[in-house]
């Protein structure tokens, strides 16, 4: 009956924090990230995985596919609605506004990235995967990963710079 063996379950448990970050970077919302993470785990549990599969890579791939399915099912989506919640007694309105602008700019910059670039950048720059690992997860050639990340970085840097100049 069980579709995952003990070692696969343990490996996935160890990877959950990383998967959660991955989910957040894709969805931009803590609630959506938790939903995506749960959907990922449920899909892995329901469908199982081959004995010889790398559990973490398998889970990231399932997560990526779940997110793409989700995007396809959404015609209108609002990402990054949950930004830093500042306490009412924060140091000063100006500082708060500055931080909110910065966080908002990063969220907006991420949102503007094409989905395939955000996936590649998140896996490598945030999750620390190698290009080869990211290529395996996203099922594209290593060279494609390299170019997607480079383009993503340039666009991010440009968007954030523009926001800071405003």
């Amino acid at each position: 009956m069980p579709l995952l063996n003990s070692s696969q379950r343990e490996a996935l448990l160890a990877e959950l924090s990383g998967l959660k970050r991955f989910c957040f970077s894709l969805t931009g919302s803590q609630a959506d990230a938790d939903d995506l993470l749960q959907a990922t785990v449920e899909k892995v549990l329901e469908k199982g995985m081959p004995e010889d599969a790398h559990p973490a890579k398998w889970a990231y791939r399932v997560c990526k596919n779940a997110w793409i399915d989700e995007l396809r099912s959404r015609e209108v989506r609002q990402r990054y609605p949950e930004q830093a919640e500042e306490p009412e007694s924060s140091p000063s309105a100006e500082q708060v506004a500055g931080r909110e602008r910065q966080v908002s700019a990063v969220g907006a910059a991420l949102e503007q990235l094409p989905e395939e670039q955000r996936l590649a950048l998140t896996l490598v720059a945030i999750e620390g995967k190698t290009y080869a690992e990211a290529a395996e997860i996203l099922e594209v050639p290593v060279g494609t990963i390299m170019s997607r990340i480079a383009r993503a970085r340039r666009q991010l840097a440009n968007t954030i710079s523009l926001a800071e100049d405003d």
Binding site: M1, R9, V103, V106, L110, L156
Partner: protein
């Protein structure tokens, strides 16, 4: 900035360059200010994104998600039970009427300290199925076992509902050598359980749970008396 240099800088940041390429690029960075400035700009963008994600994804993985994968620790009370292969397979469904017939025994209050998966496992060990009664867990969640059935691999399994801070999940756990372990769990609409009556989950959720049960159950759910007897005997 050429595309080639951009990709070179990006690979440099990701540690994807060979040692010789790193040395060559660092020589160029020392001499070419625009190249070095672009590297700083890309690195700052990386740092900003990392900080954004770390902040947004801060906090532990929700316990109901980790619980899906957590193996239940070995319990002294776990005793192997006999194979039930002789049991005749019959049609199996989780229609509300069938669930209602399984067991409406009121659950005793269950309170015990421990971690999330262990709390769930221990509650499943002793709490009868109910169509209306929630049993509080020590961590604030509430459990409602819905029905029990025999799995086709000889394990006993239980469908249950979990409630936590206005959210609900429906799952199936089976009792193996390491105790009760969740096999499948799905979210339910928040307003599912407004009343005291048993209500079926949404169509998608029912699909996930019912397909699991249909794949794995050997017979009809246990009656309230059968389940009570098993609980008394430690599911032997």
């Amino acid at each position: 900035m050429t595309t080639q240099d951009l990709e070179l800088l990006s690979q440099y940041l990701d540690g994807e360059l060979a040692a010789g390429e790193v040395a060559h690029l660092e020589q160029r960075l020392a001499k070419e200010a625009p190249l070095a400035a672009e590297l700083r700009r890309l690195r700052q963008a990386d740092d900003a994104v990392k900080a954004f994600v770390e902040q947004g994804a801060a906090g532990p993985v929700p316990s109901h998600i980790a619980e899906l994968l957590a193996p239940v620790s070995q319990s002294a009370r776990v005793i192997p039970f006999p194979s039930r292969r002789g049991r005749a397979a019959v049609g199996f469904a989780i229609a509300a009427s069938l669930v209602a017939a399984v067991g409406l025994v009121l659950a005793p209050q269950w309170q015990q300290a421990g971690n999330g998966p262990q709390l769930l496992a221990e509650a499943l060990e002793t709490t009868p199925s109910s169509a209306e009664q929630w049993s509080p867990l020590a961590d604030g969640r509430a459990l409602r076992p819905v029905l029990s059935f025999a799995g086709d691999d000889g394990r006993w399994c239980r469908e249950y509902q979990l409630s936590d801070a206005g959210k609900q999940w429906r799952g199936v756990a089976c009792r193996g050598e390491n105790g009760w372990q969740t096999e499948v769990q799905v979210g339910e609409p928040a307003d599912l359980d407004n009343g005291s009556e048993y209500l079926p989950a949404g169509a998608g959720d029912v699909d996930a749970i019912s397909s699991f049960i249909n794949r794995n159950a050997t017979g009809i759910p246990l009656s309230a008396a059968e389940e009570a007897s098993l609980i008394d005997q430690g599911w032997r």
